[in-house]
Amino acid sequence: MLLLALLLAACGGQPPEPPKAVRQFSDTQACVEPVADMRKNHMEYILHQRDETVHAGVRTRKHSFEECINCHVAPREDGSYPSAGSNDHFCSSCHSYAAVKIDCFQCHNDNPVRPSMLSAGNANYHTEVTDNLVVLEKQEEGGKL
């Protein structure tokens, strides 16, 4: 037990301090699901959404990989964005500590491209792309506005 503790202390270092997200999901909730749930199960949410989107064309924003990046990859003080390899990238800060390799960024962009349109109110709605500007498409009851 003592050995294990020593071993952990030897290779552990400080626990990771991931950069703060750009904003909260809602007034009462930090992320799209409770934080403890996200810490443990974020990959399950992303994996589920991945298959739904690729195979069935379901494009809700709540568990969308793009919205993870939009919110969690915050700009540095100089305005540049950290790349997936660097320790000040939200994902890498934890994954390098946990020694879990991420494959996502071999294909997906590690930085925000389009402005986020995710909020508690419109998590299930489409966003509209116009020259990289995102306009919320209002799909209220009673048709388009």
């Binding site: 991945r50 739904e52 690729v54 195979h55 069935a56 064309g57 379901v58 494009r59 809700t60 924003r61 793009e66 990046i69 071999q106 294909c107 997906h108 962009n109 491209v113 389009r114 299930n124 709605y125 489409h126 509209e128 792309v129 799909q139 048709g143």
Partner: protein, 257 residues
């Protein structure tokens, strides 16, 4: 008429007629928002709804309108999906390309854009060992890059040479078009636009073609008899390239024979 006293029957007929006119006006007002802008019955699907086999998306390409030397569709596609080249045409990604054809005996020549034909019985789907190459229920043939192992069987199987293999590391991908080294890719029929706008979607190639003034590419639902593409095909027919293979492609052509 105005001086005449109306009989009860005339009164009834008049009020019925007035009611009908009022109702008609109300209906027209609901449907016509502005001159030329009419609400379609076919709305795009909500984001949380899966795609359905009630649609089959396809394209009709009029080679008569396709200009020799014009590459607007190719450029539009490259820009939309950020397909950067490395100056190596043999291996650079190519989702859509221009093909020029000349009949040696008559001398007749034409040019056409060639891309994934979104076959009903797609050979790429048949040969894929992992299930990465698949056809959505609405007819769009895609590669699920999460499970693609890069074996390139599909590239060998495709009679249209529609697929590309990504040989280089990629960056700056568009969020709706993730792509990475070691996987195969091809035209997605701008699936991100289709999922959002449904019948009203205009793929990037078609948009670029319209902006360039040619309007050679029409996108639409082959299963909807009232869509522009279905009406055009019903009236004038359309050519399947390599129809002899019996693949029933979703992309049809005019002016290619």
């Amino acid at each position: 008429m105005s001086s005449k006293i109306k009989t009860p029957l005339e009164e009834t007929v008049d009020s019925a007629r007035r009611g009908f006119i009022q109702k008609t006006a109300a209906v027209t007002a609901a449907v016509t928002l502005a001159p030329g802008v009419i609400l379609h019955q076919a709305q795009a699907k909500p984001a949380d709804e899966p795609v359905s086999s009630a649609q089959r998306w396809g394209m009709l390409i009029d080679a008569n309108k396709c200009a020799e030397g014009c590459t607007a569709c190719v450029d539009g596609c490259n820009k939309e999906h950020n397909l950067e080249g490395h100056g190596r045409p043999e291996t650079d990604a190519q989702w859509i390309r221009k093909v020029s054809v000349k009949n040696r005996s008559t001398g007749y020549s034409f040019t056409l854009p060639m891309m994934c034909q979104h076959c009903e019985t797609a050979p790429c789907v048949d040969v894929c060992p992992t299930g990465a190459s698949f056809k959505r229920v609405d007819g769009i043939v895609l590669v699920d890059k999460h499970i693609c192992i890069g074996c390139r069987y599909c590239m060998m199987a495709c009679p249209y040479k529609a697929r590309s293999f990504i040989h280089e590391d990629t960056d700056d991908q568009m969020p709706y078009a993730p792509r990475g080294k070691g996987t195969v890719e091809s035209c997605t029929l701008c699936v991100h636009r289709v999922d959002k706008d449904g019948e009203d979607a205009v793929p990037a190639c078609a948009e670029a073609c319209i902006n360039d003034g040619h309007e050679a590419i029409v996108f639409g639902d082959l299963k909807n008899p009232n869509s522009r593409i279905s009406k055009s095909l019903k009236k004038y027919g359309g050519t399947q390239i390599r129809a002899d293979l019996g693949l029933n492609p979703g992309v049809r052509y005019w002016g290619v024979s």
